[in-house]
């Protein structure tokens, strides 16, 4: 592998979830179920009393479930199982993007947290408009940054100046993928600033 491919690979791994947080509990549950059923099957093979229920007993129980359990219970239990299964399936298929993104670098794989970008944009906008820290909040989404500004009561802010400040900060970052900055100025001002 050449260096560019290694760098891309590392960036991809750093900006996407490994799904190990979900894999570990799932694997432990499967392991516990396998060990328990395995122990039961060996005990019944040796003619020993079962821990909870022998495999044959379990099998006939499973066959009788629809008639032994109330339909409402079946539906509820089935729905819960199906939801958990659908959740696992979605986690397996979806990208699992984390709140980080790549910056341009000649030498290394450079990854920055969205939160750090948001804080930098907020600061830049705040300085451009001469506001207090609480009056500016930025959230960074997949391909745009939303800057919410609460102006001081009685003072009009120029949205173009603020947008230019935010865009300037974003451009200065030199991200690998473009990020658009949108400034929203609240109609209600903050009093006493």
């Amino acid at each position: 592998m050449n260096q560019a491919r290694i760098t891309n690979r590392i960036i991809r791994r750093e900006t996407h979830s490994s799904r190990s947080g979900l894999s570990i509990p799932t694997a432990i549950l499967v392991l516990a179920a396998c060990l328990w059923l395995g122990t039961e099957s060996i005990l019944s093979m040796l003619g020993q009393p079962a821990l909870l229920a022998s495999p044959g007993h379990l099998a006939s129980l499973t066959a009788e479930v629809p008639h032994a359990v109330l339909p409402a219970g079946l539906v509820a239990g089935g729905a819960v199982l199906a939801l958990v299964g659908a959740g696992l399936l979605v986690a397996a298929v979806k990208g699992g993007r984390r709140g980080r993104r790549a910056m341009v670098s000649d030498r290394s794989a450079l990854v920055v947290d969205d939160e750090a970008i948001a804080a930098a944009i907020s600061r830049k906008v705040r300085l451009a408009a001469n506001l207090a820290p609480e009056q500016v909040a930025t959230t960074v989404a997949r391909n745009h940054a939303r800057v919410s500004v609460r102006p001081t009561s009685g003072i009009t802010l120029d949205p173009e100046v603020l947008t230019a400040a935010a865009a300037d900060e974003v451009a200065g970052l030199r991200l690998r993928r473009a990020l658009r900055a949108r400034v929203h100025i609240a109609t209600e001002g903050a009093v006493g600033r």
């Binding site: 592998m1 260096q3 290694i6 760098t7 590392i10 791994r13 750093e14 490994s18 799904r19 190990s20 894999s23 799932t26 694997a27 432990i28 392991l31 396998c34 060990l35 059923l37 395995g38 099957s41 093979m45 495999p55 099998a59 006939s60 066959a63 479930v65 629809p66 539906v75 509820a76 239990g77 089935g78 199906a82 939801l83 299964g85 659908a86 696992l88 399936l89 397996a92 298929v93 980080r100 910056m103 670098s105 030498r107 290394s108 794989a109 450079l110 990854v111 920055v112 947290d113 939160e115 750090a116 970008i117 804080a119 930098a120 600061r123 300085l127 820290p133 200065g172 970052l173 030199r174």
Partner: protein, 205 residues
């Protein structure tokens, strides 16, 4: 940067998800439609009978009764081994050696990552934009490649420009290159963790 096998994670999660989804839908269906419930009992009963018939095809001495009874524990053992395999694929790959060189005449040289980490910490002392740093080494994916990959994490002060921190990181990586005498693979992460939240914000200076 660790050696988690992500494809395995997704494959196993998809299998577990499909099994649970199928079982859940079947159970819910049996609760809603009486026909499915009757079908369930009939099919399960049929399967149990088939199993009994299968048992008699391979008789074995007592107390086993049939060789087929071994199939169930064998299958479950396989499942247990697969889940242990899955668990051991999580994480791993961290190493204490940042770089190593083997020379038949001069002997082996290894550079501990803590040596480089201490240097990074020293270089960042008094820096306003960075509130914390860590440097770790990870085994390269290439088995033949002896050198490790490095991961440099810099916690940016709240409001500090990430580009400013990135330029600082590039300087640090350049210094590490100069010290090691080669260019290891480096991942730089500019983060905003607990240290960022606890430290005072970057004020207009």
């Amino acid at each position: 940067m660790n050696s988690t096998n992500r494809a395995v994670n997704r494959l196993f999660l998809a299998i577990a998800g499909l099994v649970l989804l199928g079982a859940g839908l079947l159970a819910a269906g049996a609760g809603l439609v009486p026909g499915i419930a009757d079908q369930w009992t009939a099919v399960a009963g049929g399967l149990l009978e088939r199993w009994q018939a299968l048992l008699s095809t391979a008789p074995a001495p007592e107390p086993l009764g049939s060789w087929w009874t071994l199939a169930l524990p064998a299958l479950l053992l396989l499942g247990a081994v697969a889940s242990i395999f899955w668990l051991t694929r999580q994480g791993g790959g961290r190493t204490g050696t940042a770089a190593g060189e083997q020379d038949p005449e001069l002997g082996d040289t290894a550079v501990d990552v803590s040596y480089l980490a201490a240097g990074v910490e020293q270089a960042l002392k008094g820096n306003r934009a960075v509130v914390g740093s860590s440097l770790t080494a990870w085994r390269g994916r290439n088995k033949r490649n002896e050198s490790s990959a490095l991961r440099l994490t810099l916690q940016a002060r709240k409001g500090a420009s990430p580009r400013e921190v990135a330029d600082l990181a590039e300087d640090l990586v350049g210094a590490i290159d100069a010290q090691l005498g080669h260019h290891p693979t480096v991942l730089v992460r500019i983060g905003s963790g607990t240290r960022t939240k606890l430290a005072s914000a970057h004020r207009a200076g």
